[in-house]
Symmetry: C2
Subunit: 197 residues, 2 copies
Amino acid sequence: MTSGITLWFTGVPASGKSAIARRVRELLAARGLPVELLDGPEVRQSLSRGLGFTREDREENVRRIGYVAKLLSRNGVIAICAAVSPYRATREEIRQHVSNFVEIFVDCPLEVAERRDTEGLYAKARAGVIEDFTGVSDPYERPEKPEVYIRSDEESIEQSAAKVVKTLELLQLIPQVDDGFPDADDLRRRLRGLGYI
Amino acid sequence: MTSGITLWFTGVPASGKSAIARRVRELLAARGLPVELLDGPEVRQSLSRGLGFTREDREENVRRIGYVAKLLSRNGVIAICAAVSPYRATREEIRQHVSNFVEIFVDCPLEVAERRDTEGLYAKARAGVIEDFTGVSDPYERPEKPEVYIRSDEESIEQSAAKVVKTLELLQLIPQVDDGFPDADDLRRRLRGLGYI
């Protein structure tokens, strides 16, 4: 049994993590790779019913996702996780415990995310209904060395998802497929600069 | 990717589920099979911090174990779950959602379990500190058609664990190994009687 991968999407609420994560799942599944998506809302329903949005509850939610990702990835599965996960220390803790942690920073200016927010979370945070809301009343700690850097307000979902998949190839975590991805050299330079390849 | 298995140990608190489950894990791992143990206390720490022992909280805990077992077993892993899981309906619900559900009923007279209880849970239940405690103040609904039936006060852990593994062979869920297990014919008759083979 080869090791799996933990793909960890992080970014402020409504930055576009879920949409990219879903597309990445499709692309990997189409290659016949075993993949599971642990997405915020579904995971909250399945693992974290009763938890709220305080710092402590959000941290607990993120740790639970990390625990399940550990179980899956050490059994050869690609666990795709999409959660705000605003604290660097928690993300690094998860990196230590799972197989082949790949951090994907979905960067997006706050005003764009807020405009996009279909769930109305930012509005609730501005109104004070949700306390400690990431980006509004609680910090988002940007990743320092994410394996993949995405600007979701400047790239299409398709471009972002392709970047993630190509990065997995460059990191030699999945077999290479020659699909003519245009920016492979940029990604390679970036990963080399970060010391990942 | 072949389907995995969900091995579901059920029985009153301190009936011996965890000890047998741990030994089954060892036996399966020694055969090179991918296996994960989701055991009550560890799972409570990782997935269910904050949940108590009310009926509702215990049900939620069991459902979370079932959710993780679903993710693991549909990716080829043998998920071994050990939880009291006293309600038949919840166990049947999990059977519907996971791959190859195998129910293992660890039967044990209540007075034996209570004598054995190292965590002091029965004492707390008798004292009224824990309400709705299975076997004391809340019912345990015995499985009607468990794939494996264990009398933990009459069998050794080694015998019980071997029965579980041999049953998986008879159900053709794992490859057969000729290890001279003495009661294979009894198990076969039992499984045939229940309509499982």
